[in-house]
């Protein structure tokens, strides 16, 4: 009995002593931290993806609290809703941003873009592009080893086994930009989601002259300037044989899509076109 009592007593005294030491040490070396950082962090989605440009959600929260305006801080994953909450909590104004989505600008599947050689090295786009221009005649196109798939934390991008090209799941994509950074060919771009998720973009990044580009890939942009001429909103620019559609200027009229001789311009999430006779096809419901 004595042994038990002695043990309990000695351990309790030891515990109290250590607690006291810990308490005083904690008081002495206390780090003053703004309690709002914790609160802001709680509002954030907690994906730690780095899409905002900071090391993680904590670092972002810290910078929000310290910042004078929220103009430069934006969480792409949470979007406007989360940023509104953060702004409300901190009593600051926020700069609203149009929601974006990652877009893969290459349609060089096996039918469109024949292989010219076989790559048998380590399956990684970055490694492959460090060796040479790629296993097709197009040196700008997708290499198909899925560095973007590995970079995505949200399971939003997958390789399509039929085409060998990555495909973005719009409902999952948060526009964090990890895939944009991972792609050594700079094929993926963040574009505005658009009204009703409708988008028009040039699905090609080939800067070669028309003949070379077309020989390498059947659906390459050949820089023929037809789309530029037909565009009424001045949204299309052509630099080094490649058309680019400015998503801020584009009014989604789809004239360029029809005009493109190589079908390099894509329309996404538009209703199926009905033949001209019945109704005017370009009127949106």
């Amino acid at each position: 009995m004595n042994t038990v009592l002695f043990t309990i007593l000695s351990l309790s005294i030891l515990g109290i002593l250590l607690a006291l030491i810990l308490y005083f040490v904690a008081q002495k070396f206390k780090v003053e931290e703004d309690p709002r950082i914790d609160d802001v962090q709680a509002i954030l989605p907690g994906a730690n993806c780095g899409g905002c440009g900071f090391a993680g959600c904590r670092a972002f929260a810290e910078s929000c609290v310290k910042a004078e305006t929220l103009e430069k801080n934006f969480c792409p994953v949470g979007g406007n809703e989360v940023m509104k909450q953060v702004a409300q909590y901190l009593g600051m104004e926020m700069a609203e941003k149009t929601p974006q989505v990652a877009v893969v600008r290459c349609n060089g599947n096996c039918d469109n873009r024949p292989k010219t050689n076989n790559y048998d090295g380590f399956s990684s786009c970055a490694v492959m592009s460090s060796f040479y221009s790629g296993d097709t005649a197009c040196k700008y196109g997708c290499l198909g080893h899925g560095d973007c798939v590995l970079a995505c934390q949200f399971d939003a991008i997958k390789m399509d086994p039929r085409t060998g090209l990555p495909e973005v799941d719009e409902s999952k994509c948060t526009a964090c930009g990890a895939c944009v950074k991972a792609c050594p060919k700079m094929i993926i771009e963040l574009r505005n989601k658009g009204i009703k998720n409708r988008r028009i973009f040039v699905s090609c990044v080939n800067k070669d002259k028309g003949g070379i580009a077309k020989k390498a890939c059947a659906v390459a942009c050949i820089g023929c300037t037809k789309c530029q001429k037909v565009c009424a909103y001045d949204a299309i620019t052509i630099t080094s044989n490649l058309a680019y559609i400015d998503y801020n200027k584009c009014k989604l009229c789809r004239k360029c899509v029809v005009e493109c001789p190589t079908h390099a311009i894509w329309e996404v999430n538009f209703p199926v076109r009905v033949p001209k006779k019945e109704t005017s096809p370009l009127v949106e419901q």
């Binding site: 050689n117 048998d120 380590f122 490694v127 460090s130 040479y132 040196k139």
Partner: protein, 445 residues
């Protein structure tokens, strides 16, 4: 006992099956595609235009920038155009395309077979002539030779090392010139000694080439006693600059340092021959010895090949692709580059064409690292490839830098020795480039 370098190294089978094929001149081509980027550094700037008539040996592009080299025409004819064409990796490089008409050489080139022994030019003139003739290192990297022969201020060279080890399997181009042109090589070495102002030179040759050692020694004993022929134990990568310095002189190049930090300058035997031809015969560098080999080929050849011959033409001249060949490598199997574009043309430093069958090129499936440390044992730079690979895969740049990723010479010993087929070199090479970018971005102290 023969010398060799002190750490790491591997022993791949040397496969020198083309060693008995004498050097033959490659037939004249119909069209030459001369690349403007045949050397390390800035591409040369073409000085000819469409329609110009050129002769063999005529200057067609001038060096631009400090690290660059002149380029001369390898054929005579009319310039068809100057345009961007893919190199062997498919990346666009400016080329001068020349339609060949006859074989007319410029008058200043001494085309006789006499060996010119007297070195008439002075130190400065030699370096000037080498620069004019566009001589680059033929050991692989194609670093402009005239820059290597002028040590940076504050550094003094006291020994010249000549790399005749040809440690790369299959290749026999250096071996053939050591058999066929030993005296020219030694005169070339003398010229470089004069340019550097050194009194000692060593030629390192691996023991698997006894005939070359005998041939070089035979000439060196008769009148070239200041040049020592050093037999070396066979071991890859003996031909690497840092390894050769270690093997021959026992000096160790410090981490991130250059060979000149130890007072040594390393040149290849092929470069020595090119220097001889440039200085004594006034012949610019526009051709080179190329081994065309492979186990799947019935005939092994060594050619004197002019710059600007496309891989397609070469394969056609030797009778087309063998049936079972799946891969064409420019250079040797360890450090050579696979040819992705057959329309690309040979350059000054092209030393071999190697054809491999599917079985020879197959990489096994990647398995887990079991920390057997074979890569650590094999690394000639004393690095830990398994660790670098792990760090590279998670992008730990600071730790990669601490673990000396910049010292990697990309010899491929780790990849060769890995029993789990881990692509060590691939990931290390990639991270090396990333780390270098970070290091260059830092403000200078």
């Amino acid at each position: 006992m023969s010398k060799t370098f002190s750490i790491g190294g591997i022993h791949p089978h040397d496969n020198k099956i083309s060693k008995d094929a004498a050097i033959e001149n490659f037939p004249l081509v119909e069209t030459a595609y001369i690349s403007m980027s045949q050397h390390l550094g800035a591409p040369a700037e073409p000085i000819v235009a469409k329609g110009d008539k050129v002769k063999v040996g005529q200057l067609i592009a001038k060096a631009s920038g400090f690290i660059s080299a002149n380029i001369h025409s390898s054929v005579s004819g009319t310039v068809r155009s100057v345009e961007m064409l893919p190199d062997l990796a498919g990346n666009p490089v400016q080329h001068v395309i020349i339609d060949v008409e006859g074989d007319e050489w410029i008058d200043t080139i001494d085309r006789s077979n006499d060996i010119v022994k007297d070195i008439k030019l002075g130190k400065e003139e030699i370096i000037k002539r080498i620069a004019e003739c566009g001589v680059v290192g033929l050991g692989g990297a194609a670093f402009p030779t005239h820059i290597k022969l002028t040590p940076p201020p504050g550094k003094v060279a006291d020994v010249l090392l000549i790399n005749g080890s040809e440690c790369e399997p299959y290749l026999t181009s250096d071996y053939r010139i050591m058999l066929e042109n030993p005296e020219e090589i030694l005169i070339g070495v003398r010229i470089m000694m004069k340019a550097l102002g050194v009194s000692k030179a060593y030629v390192g040759i691996e023991e698997n080439k006894p005939k070359a050692i005998k041939s070089m020694k035979g000439v060196a004993d008769k009148g070239y006693t200041d040049i020592k022929i050093v037999p070396l134990k066979k071991r890859y990568p003996q031909g690497g600059e840092k390894q050769l310095i270690d093997a021959v002189t026992g000096r160790r190049v410090p981490s991130m340092g250059l060979p000149i930090d130890t007072g040594a300058v390393v040149q290849n035997v092929g470069t020595a021959l090119a220097v001889y031809e440039a200085v004594q015969k006034n012949k610019p560098l526009f051709d080179g010895i190329v081994t065309v080999t492979g186990k799947c080929m019935t005939e092994q050849r060594n050619f004197r090949l002019r710059v600007g011959t496309t891989f397609d033409t070469m394969m056609f001249a030797i009778g087309g692709f063998p049936k079972d060949a799946v891969k064409l490598i420019s250079g040797g199997p360890m450090m050579g580059k696979a040819v992705a574009c057959m329309d690309a043309a040979s350059v000054k430093s092209t030393s071999g064409l190697l054809l491999l069958t599917e079985e020879e090129t197959k990489r096994g499936p990647e398995r887990n690292c079991i920390r057997c440390a074979k890569c650590v044992e094999a690394c000639p730079m004393g690095l830990q490839p398994y660790l670098l690979n792990r760090l590279a895969r998670v992008n730990r740049m600071e730790e990669l830098e601490e673990n000396m990723v910049q010292d990697c010479i990309e010899c491929g010993c780790c990849l060769y020795s890995c029993p789990a087929n881990i692509p060590l070199l691939d990931t290390i090479r990639l991270s090396k480039a990333k780390v270098l970018k970070i290091m260059r971005g830092r403000p200078k102290k």
